[in-house]
Amino acid sequence: MAKKINLTIDGINVSVDEGMTILEAARTLNIHIPTLCYHEDLCVAGNCRVCVVEQEKVKNLPASCAMPVAEGMVIHTNSMKVRMARKHIVELLLSEHNADCTKCYKNGNCELQGLASQMLTGDHMFLDLVPDKKYTIDMFNSAIVKDDSRCIRCQRCVRTCEELQSVSALGVAYKGDKMKISTFFEHPLFEVVCTNCGQCVNRCPTGALIEKNYIDQVWDAIYDPSKHVVVQTAPAVRIALGEALGLPPGKIVTGKMVSALKRLGFNSVLDTDFTADLTIIEEGHELLSRLKKALVDKDPTVSLPMATSCSPGWIKFIEHTFPEYLPNLSTCKSPQQMFGALAKTFYAQKRQLDPKNVVSVSIMPCTAKKFEANRPEMRSSGYKDVDYVLTTRELGIMIKQAGLEFDGLPEEKFDSFMGSSTGAAVIFGTTGGVMEAALRTVYEVVTGREVPFEGLNIVPVRGTEGEVREATIHIEKVKPEWSFLEGVDLQCVVANGLANAKKVMQNVKEGKANYHFIEIMACPGGCLGGGGQPIPTNKEIRSKRKSAIYQEDMGMPIRKSHENPDVASIYQEFLEKPLGHKSHELLHTHYTPRKRY
């Protein structure tokens, strides 16, 4: 047990574990010290100084986020001295900040604005420095907008990009009054190593890093009578959307979400989960075909291990960082893009629509999906397969705009077809989910039996946040046509967060690991912790979302992708067979090597 430290905070004696900071100790007493640069997921920076407190017998005010508790400390969190210093600091930040709040996307959802309103900063204590600054806005990227005039230099984004993602697309440039958050030689984001994962967007306290929003374009499409607007919703949206609308984290709102989307006016409310199931069929067969080529045909050109390709942040990361491993990526498109390609082909045909009048919208927990939808190769229907990608947050805004009382909405079901799904698809939203879903199917295809895990729960591959998880699945008593897999130990690895992806790939590169199948999700915890999810997102919230996802899986009547009746019928009616000609045309893709800066 950790040693206990006794101290006094605002006259209250408290005993806390050694190593705790003053900030954390105060929180145990329900004293909320304001912060800006502090974020639970990141290392302590101590650079905004908003969290300063007064320590008796010490001249300076320590930053409570960075100061460990010490025996006998006497702390005042709200003394005159502290209040004056904090007000000065917030005023200083505002003087450097483009505080044109009504023009800001984060209006009403900005931590600086929140502090300013708490402190009643109305009297412009200091000179306005903004006119002399040559602030720039980088809006050339399809996913993320970086507006330096809103930046408070807290470096949460820099730490996110470096610590969680090991991408370091964002860094600090210059010093003194010219200090700014920038990229490699100040290139725009679309030219650098940025993966569009949006983890920085999720952690930015102000409007300096935001997603590029397509809300108005989607409204325009909805109100255009000549357009048929279909919407698909990703698995991780239904367990987080509630947070954007005032509900507690971890609440499953699938039915309410469907009902809200219908009321917003989408012509058809469908489910990305359907194409998640389809992805499993295609990707599962791709894995088996690669294994066969390697084990039976001894084909030296086959690339193993095979890595999942659902996470567009991961795709761009590997394109930049390990381009030599692009052949190892599954050629399957992500569920979003499979859906888009089918919406303007299969779906349009079936509904007798002209694909040029079909507008395909997706609701994603992700900002990288915006970039993915804009990739030139994502036009296999002959049109842009997915026209607009909205984040969970943007959908939350639309629902508010429409005046819907979300919690009071009835539960409704997805439209058919391309609306049915399984528990295997739902778990795509968490780390380890694609692996588990794939194994549920692959194992059964090969052996004719269900995976030998209680309740189909393949716990060994369920990822843990911030960790690389390795697991071995023993395959035995296979069907005759899969005899080459008899007794094979399928080596799997699951990682979330690009820093962990880098570790996995480094191991592969150095020959330290002998995997068959790699699942990578770019964001901490998988899509449930995606860059497009409601703010705040932190460890505790992610863990609640994760429980919700597994709960949703358990509650589904069908939990294996290959048993999805709509999937079976789409092969019958349209695609013919997994990895068939049509599949290749519509559901598979290729990748582009990129530079490393």
């Binding site: 650079n47 000065h88 600091i89 450097e96 200091f126 000179l127 010093k175 200090m179």
Partner: protein
């Protein structure tokens, strides 16, 4: 100089012993406790400006449990008006390396570094020559302590010890949160002694003279001598080694041009002492401390310009990470301009004084904390020059 009223000292720049690295050789034979006791008795305090007792710093570092420790000589002399380390390194580098090597023995370090100001690159060939001699002797003496030189790139902030570590580790020169202090987590997060160039020379001289002899110089709070960089309105600018604890009026009598209006003690981050306070001001840790910079201004100088110049310096040299320093420096400079131009009323200076007070207590490192020193001492003492 014909008449000398202040006692000149010849400790730092005095000649080398006849036998190379003799003091080091003698000291290596002594126990660490004896060495630390002598240092403690000598009353030596760091010569970089902050004045932390050197013996304590070494003791804490030696006691930090770790497999590796480092000695770093801070030669990133960047304080405006300071140029004494340059002189020391040019004239008596052997004394510096001896001091470092003694420190290496006491704290159990095997590696030492000299972090040299980028602009002092020209010294490297000579320093390397001396280092060769040092390493030869260290080997002969069986002292396993290697010294390397690392070069800064011109940022003032890298003279701040934790920013210096970051710089040496290849990172951006940004100060770290303290605690942990360098004594437990310094370079490469290992216990590290980081001392000013002059401090190491003092250590070496204490070892040579013994603490009793050394203590004869200076006052109770400020033992020993100090190398001063005298500049500004003086007929005799240059480097002077003087006893600590001298009253400022005697200093001005000797170095001023007869029309001295103010002395900036300790560089841009130090204090400005106006004429009326010369008599009561003592130069030393009990009075106004200094890393060595003494800038003399006569009545032809505008203190507004002086202050503006300092603030411009800080505005640019702040690392930019913490709010009070990055934005505060900009506000202070632009604020005095606005007052001077009449765009802000004179009482805006009071607002700025409060701001500088907040900077002093909330900034992350010594840079932001010390801007208030020159700001408040100049604005308080020369208010009319700020307004009219």
């Amino acid at each position: 100089m014909s008449e000398q009223t202040l006692k000149r000292v010849d400790l730092i720049f005095g000649e080398y012993s006849n036998i190379k690295y003799k003091v080091l050789a003698d000291t290596l034979k002594r126990s660490n406790d004896e060495i630390l006791k002598d240092l403690l008795d000598s009353g030596l305090r760091g010569r970089g400006g902050a004045g932390f007792p050197t013996a304590m710093k070494w003791k804490f570092t030696a006691e930090s449990p770790c497999d590796e420790r480092f000695v770093i000589c801070n030669a990133d002399e960047g304080e405006p008006g300071t140029f004494k380390d340059r002189e020391i390194l040019l004239r008596v580098p052997r004394k510096v390396f001896s001091g470092m090597a003694i420190c290496g023995k006491v704290i159990g370090a095997k590696r030492g570094f000299m972090y040299l100001r980028g602009e002092y690159r020209f010294m490297i060939p000579d320093l390397m020559k001396e280092l060769e001699i040092y390493h030869e002797h260290a080997q002969k003496l069986g002292h396993d302590f290697k010294i390397e030189i690392r070069l800064g790139s011109g940022a003032y902030i890298c003279g701040e010890e934790s920013a210096l570590f970051e710089s040496m580790e290849g990172g951006r020169g940004e100060p770290r949160n303290k605690p942990p202090y360098p004594t437990t987590s310094g370079f490469m997060k290992k216990p590290t002694v980081i001392n000013n160039v002059e401090t190491f020379v003092n250590v070496m001289m204490i070892m040579r003279l013994g603490p009793e002899q050394y203590k004869k110089l200076g006052t109770t709070d400020s033992r020993g001598s100090k190398v001063f960089s005298v500049s500004g309105d003086t007929p005799i600018p240059g480097i002077y080694e003087l006893e600590l604890g001298m009253p400022l009026d005697r200093f001005v009598d000797e170095f001023g041009d007869g029309d001295t209006k103010a002395v900036q003690v300790g560089g841009a981050s130090g204090f400005c002492v106006p004429r009326k306070k010369f008599k009561e001001t003592v130069i030393g840790f009990e009075g106004v401390p200094t890393g060595g910079s003494m800038m003399i201004f006569n009545s032809s100088r505008s203190m507004y310009n002086v202050l503006h110049n300092y603030l411009e310096f800080f505005e640019e040299e702040s690392c930019g990470q913490c709010t009070p320093c990055r934005v505060g420096c900009q506000q202070l400079r632009k604020g005095i301009v606005a007052v001077k131009k009449g765009e802000k009323k004179a009482n805006y200076l009071d607002q700025l004084m409060k701001l500088s007070e907040s900077m002093k207590i909330t900034a992350k490192c010594g840079l932001g904390q010390s801007v208030a020193n020159s700001f408040s001492s100049i604005v308080n003492n020369f208010k009319e020059e700020m307004i009219y």
